[in-house]
């Protein structure tokens, strides 16, 4: 049994896409991608931890955030990690059109995070309300109720776009601007 498992691991090999992405045309320029890890280390001085709160998403954004963890994107290999406790998180990611039923839980999660906290809206719904917009049930854009540092658009945004967004958000917040 173990033999089959090892054989499959060996057959799969290393498929993480750092070099491939750098060569092909992708939303990320090669220099950008290659220095995500360096940047994060430089600006944060450590790994980046993210707490996600689904505030009414259709689950599409969650699928893509989960995909970031697969071997192609190898998110944890870059030193970026989703954590369970908001107290361990540097960044709050929000998805969905901020349903009123999730508002209280979302704000409590935000309060529980240590400063400086980065807030990133992921997906069109959290960015501007998306297809659901503002209604009796939804608040729409996350920025209507919370200070948002960075927006990542898409329905849902693809994993590479989210990765690029994470880097931009870190730069935006922590790098000195001219």
């Amino acid at each position: 049994m173990m033999w089959e498992t090892w054989r499959q691991i060996r057959r799969t090999g290393i498929i993480s896409e750092k070099p491939a992405v750098a060569q092909e045309s992708s939303p990320l320029g090669d220099t950008q991608y290659n220095d995500i890890q360096d940047k994060i280390l430089k600006v944060l001085g450590r790994a980046l931890t993210i707490r996600l709160v689904d505030a009414g998403s259709c689950n599409g954004c969650e699928l893509e955030l989960n995909a970031l963890g697969n071997a192609y994107y190898n998110l944890e290999g870059l030193g970026i990690k989703f954590v369970a406790s908001p107290r361990h998180a540097d960044m709050l990611m929000l998805t969905g059109p901020i349903s009123r039923n999730m508002l209280a839980a979302m704000l409590i999660t935000h309060d529980a995070m240590p400063d400086p906290k980065l807030v990133v809206a992921v997906g069109d719904c959290a960015v501007n309300g998306g297809i659901f917009g503002e209604s009796y049930a939804t608040i729409g854009a996350a920025s209507n109720v919370i200070k948002v540092d960075f927006n990542i658009r898409g329905c849902p945004p693809e994993p590479l776009v989210i990765l690029q967004g994470i880097l931009s958000a870190v730069r935006y917040r922590f790098e000195p601007r001219p």
């Binding site: 089959e4 498992t5 009414g56 689950n59 039923n101 999730m102 297809i131 939804t138 329905c155």
Partner: protein
């Protein structure tokens, strides 16, 4: 022709039909309410009867009482649906023992019923009520509660679980959902029948294809549109691809929740390859907006066909290898077997459906029982087992992946020539149509009322999770708390599809 003919009944007829279905071992598919233009209230019930398929009844409320008879004694799944009708429309089931609100958590304002025609759906309440949901308490020596959610560890949807436990053992689980309610039913009223498919495709992102097809099936039935065989075949091709994508992801995640990270890595890798081909051929990794009223937005050529075939071959080989590894892994099987058990008896009583139902001996699959084109031409083999545990839900997923791979290959061989889209003429009258598509979780039902200008008057889309969420409460009884994530993942029910 619509797949559901609605029959108008009186109060007694409403109860008689329910009893008739219960005696025929049928189940309740869905309930919804509607406020008509003439300000009357109507309730609709759709049933599935194993010998005759879908049937529906419509009851128009009258008199001062303004209620309809409770169905939850006969069909437990009716309970949450009736509470939802109250939350959204303010009409009650007479005789129901549970009057707690369900989707309404008190943040929309007191006595606000969004689906009433007098409300625009944009009213915003300044008053947020304190949310004191009365969970059923379990008392006894050493019993304590564990409250989980709505924010969970990990990247998953929000919901609240209240466990009553003794030591590690779960005595009772009570779910509270509704956190992702985003007013979809009301939002539909702003859409023309043709455009509503975009919203339908975003009710539950992992089932976008099934939702979009079900919605289109309903609108096309209402408007009597002719859809080409090619378009229907392409829809089925994409539906099977959606099923495989989700099953791959779940098999990995279930392995991971039992401590086998190898499984997650391997299956997520296969899923990623699968999604990338979706993007290449159908314009979107989850094929959102690929199904439109009248057909499909994308056609495939011979190059596409050969890519799809080659991928099926590769995935079949990989999945077979991984299945061997899963089956032979003693530690994994130890976690899977007997865990989260739902007997056929309980499953029948609760009206379980879809994948989780098939793992508990409920032999129901819309592609098999009452197939429409192209499934009527494909002889789908139903997957299922009676063991009802995590292992059963894993094995049904493996079986269904292999069957769906076969179906895709067959669809490609038999792909008819013809247009992938034909336009629909909107009739100048109010219409109703129903859709029923076997998504990867189970049947997605659509009941769409359209007005004479073609605008959506009331769109009700039902996720099979409504039936299966209550079953999860039974599945965990007697298991230990650390097994909950594993059991929950083996069901992988929709929050957003349920909360709408």
């Amino acid at each position: 022709m619509s797949i559901v003919i609605l029959q108008s009944v009186d109060e007694q007829g409403w109860l008689d039909r329910a009893l008739e279905i219960a005696e025929a071992h049928g189940r309740l598919v869905t309930l919804w309410g509607r406020n008509t233009e003439s300000d009357a209230y109507e309730v609709y019930a759709v049933y599935f009867d194993p010998s005759r398929g879908l049937s529906g009844v419509l009851f128009t409320l009258s008199g001062e009482r303004n209620t309809y008879p409770d169905l939850s004694e006969l069909f437990p799944a009716a309970d949450r649906m009736q509470r939802t009708i109250w939350d959204l429309l303010g009409i009650a089931a007479f005789g129901s023992s549970d009057s707690r609100r369900w989707l309404d958590h008190g943040s929309w304002g007191r006595n606000y019923y969004p689906l009433r025609k007098s409300n625009s759906g944009l009213e915003v309440s300044q008053v947020i009520e304190t949310d004191d949901y009365s969970f059923v308490e379990v008392s006894g020596d050493g019993v304590h509660e564990i409250a989980v959610g709505p924010v969970h560890a990990g990247i998953i949807e929000p919901g609240h679980f209240r466990f009553s436990v003794v030591g590690e053992k779960i005595l009772r689980l009570e779910e509270r959902l509704g956190y992702t309610h985003k007013g979809v039913d009301k939002a539909f009223e702003k859409y023309h029948g043709i455009d509503g498919v975009q919203l339908a495709g975003r009710i539950s992102g992992d089932s976008t294809l099934a939702y979009a097809w079900s919605y289109c099936m309903a609108v096309e039935a209402a408007w009597k549109c002719e859809i080409s065989y090619r378009a229907l075949s392409l829809r089925a091709l994409m539906l099977e691809r959606e099923r495989i994508a989700n099953h791959l992801g779940d098999l990995g995640a279930i392995g991971n929740d039992a401590g086998f990270a190898f499984g997650l890595t391997q299956f997520m890798l296969l899923k990623e390859q699968w999604l990338r081909l979706n993007k290449e051929l159908f314009g979107h990794r989850f094929m959102m907006d690929a199904v439109v009223v009248g057909g499909v937005a994308y056609d495939i050529d011979t190059i596409g066909i050969s890519k799809l075939r080659a991928q099926c071959e590769k995935i079949r080989e990989e999945v077979s290898t991984l299945r061997g590894i899963y089956d032979d892994h003693a530690g994994l099987q130890d976690r899977f077997l007997t865990t989260g058990h739902v007997s056929t008896e309980v499953a029948t009583r609760l009206g379980m459906t879809g994948l989780a139902g098939r793992a508990s001996g409920i032999s129901e699959d819309g592609r098999v029982n009452f197939p429409s084109y192209p499934y009527s031409n494909l002889q789908v083999n139903i997957s299922g087992t009676e063991s009802g545990d995590v292992a059963a839900r894993v094995s049904v997923r493996f079986d269904e992946i292999l069957e769906s791979l076969r179906l895709i290959t067959e669809i490609l061989v038999k792909l008819p020539e013809g247009p992938n889209y034909s336009s629909c003429k909107v009739p100048e009258q109010s219409t109703f149509g129903a859709g029923w598509v076997e998504g990867w979780r189970g049947g997605i039902f659509a009941g769409i009322h359209l007005d004479k200008t073609g605008m959506v008057d009331r769109a009700h889309m039902h996720d099979p999770s409504w039936q299966n969420w209550p079953a999860l409460e039974y599945a965990v009884i007697g298991d230990i708390v650390p097994d909950f994530p594993l059991i929950n993942k083996s069901f992988n029910l929709s929050y957003s599809g349920h909360d709408r």
